[in-house]
Amino acid sequence: MVDTWQLVVFWALFAMMGVSALRVVTSSNVVHAALYLVVTLMGAAALYVLLLAEFVAWVQVLVYVGAIIVLMLFGLMLTRAPIGKGMFDNDQRLVAAVTAGALFGVTTWIIVDAFEGQKITLSKATGIRAESIGDVIFSSFVLPFEVISMLLLAALIGAVVIARRD
């Protein structure tokens, strides 16, 4: 049931995310890089909407665009990051390229290996809804759910230890 316009929207998002993702790593101003990351993450959220995973899309907007970017910008403000041209470029581009390429290759291989040839038809039944997520979290994944709160607790206590004066 993939319509032509769905493909058009997909490729438009693909172009938008591709350009902004490139700008994230090539931009000479780290604050601009963080703002380009907002565009990339919003594109990912739009892709989730396109896949009928509405809840995941809004979680992406709330947590990644809302919270993680705020954390990144605060991190930049704390570190007195140099914003001049090429101030934080270094000669490790080859290593970075190899690492990024390997990561992309492995991820692609895993996804192809797991879903090769499968056709996932989108319908309102297969769309990931908040209800189906709630169903599994509060029945089969209770322990991981509670462990998340421990993780958040550890993050907060760590930040308090770093930030307090005494």
Binding site: G66, R80, A130, I137, L156, A159
Partner: protein, 124 residues
């Protein structure tokens, strides 16, 4: 979830609103550029046209204590995300879901208590 047609239809509405928003901002800026007289002057590009000139860079290192508030926001943002699916299934799961969420929020409340006890929530 609404059916396919109306589901995407709602997002088309959002898209139209977003487009109108972008056009409104860019359009008015361009219109101002067209209509306004253009008399460039170096004084106009200073930070304060009639005031004390700023010294040094505007990029300063901020206090690490701001980071606490950013992290508090992230933690409770993540908590809020879990509240949505919880609220939907709450009626069916009943006491079980209630106890699970109380434990979850309770552990996070410990973090808030710890932060309050260490006085990082007060601004001195």
């Amino acid at each position: 979830m609404p059916e396919g047609g109306t589901y995407f239809g709602q997002y088309v509405t959002i898209g139209i609103f977003a487009l109108v928003g972008v056009v409104l901002v860019l359009g008015t800026l361009q219109l101002a550029k067209l209509v306004a007289p253009n008399v460039p002057d170096t004084d106009k590009y200073t930070t304060y046209e009639s005031g004390i000139d700023p010294i040094g860079s505007g990029w300063a290192q901020s206090n690490v204590r701001y980071y606490i508030f950013a992290l508090l926001f992230v933690v409770f943002d993540v908590e809020a995300v879990f509240l949505f699916p919880w609220a939907i299934v709450f009626e069916r799961f009943g006491t079980q879901a209630f106890v699970e969420m109380v434990i979850f929020i309770g552990i996070l409340a410990i973090a808030l208590l710890y932060a309050a006890k260490k006085k990082v929530l007060e601004w001195q």
